[in-house]
Symmetry: C3
């Protein structure tokens, strides 16, 4: 847990960085839900790591991240599902001049073709983000799925 | 798809405009869910267009938008439903000094009187917004409902 | 209803304050969902009031707010539930140099151990926030649960 300081105060970033982060996450989720796995993978650093507590081991490096996600979005498309990843409740603190640590909730809403919208899953995640020109890249993402016993 | 540039980068707006957009959407959704159809319609330009891929044709102009929405909110009230429209994952780019293109997710949570909250629907939408003094107005809104075949 | 002015316009705050409010709410919800009831209570003023239209009377003062919430989070933990409070659609207006009135939606997503994510409830709330150094504290919170008859 990076962001809440534990004494009721919360480390924060300024409005400029917070707006950058919000737009980064919005764009990243849209790429994912559009099935643009390669473009999505380019929102990670070349040596980026993506770990989820429900997976046996982390995905390491942009190439593996892209390959794994291409397979995942292919399955979603084959099932004719519209998936929407929502990120919210983002806390953030500067960990260096060009490094931000965030903690946030992410949930997935999915709709089957001809079906109704349903909640697919709920998670809590932590990122290490590094500045890349006017935007940000994920250097490390750790996602813990709610309802699971193991810690991510 | 206006916002993601397709190469992993995303066009963005500055923090001032992003905060304006977020507050614009928050206020617009509150007006809608409060059943204030006329006030909600005034968040569109006089010649604003509201199209949804599940409707046979767009609503054109503030008067038609108000009339159609008055009928819609009347039905919701008659069913004693509390509806909450949430907008999130907003990407935005300047398309002119006073014009912004956005793309975002919108979902509706509804609760029947005495009942439990449920997801009503999930969508992805695109707006053309024009500056109106210190706020914004919708010139064109296109909403695609998830789980439907047709493109909006 | 504090924020929408009722004529289609909405009072707003600047990007700096809006980013502060968003990060305040994000941190406050994370404390709650982490079960940190005492730290969460310290996001209220010493004489803060927390009222919900489904409770017989308001919780008054940080001590009572902490005690009541410790009991509530204890029950959630005993049921092995992961709860996520999401706040969104936040409208805000300055009511003084260091006072902000907000109105927003709050929903709870919960996941039982080994179970699926589900919507637990949907609400609309209003806060009076007062500046406390670089952050904010809740002086008064009023939550109305959707689907209930009584007004908060």
């Amino acid at each position: 847990m990076t962001a809440p300081a534990g004494d009721g105060t919360v480390a924060t970033v300024d409005a400029t960085v917070y707006a950058e982060l919000q737009q980064f996450y919005a764009g990243q989720m849209q790429l994912l839900d559009d099935g643009a796995a390669d473009e999505w993978a380019r929102t990670f650093t070349l040596d980026g790591v993506f770990e989820q507590n429900v997976l046996p081991r982390p995905w390491r490096g942009r190439d593996e991240i892209a390959a794994k996600m291409r397979a995942a979005v292919g399955k979603v498309a084959a099932q004719q599902l519209d998936r929407r990843h929502w990120i919210g409740m983002v806390t953030a603190r500067l960990a260096g001049p060009d490094v931000v640590h965030t903690r946030y909730y992410a949930t997935v809403v999915q709709t089957r073709k001809g079906g109704s919208a349903e909640l697919h899953l709920s998670t809590c995640a932590e990122d290490v983000l590094v500045r890349d020109g006017g935007s940000w890249l994920v250097e490390h993402r750790s996602v813990r799925h709610d309802g699971t016993a193991a810690e991510g």
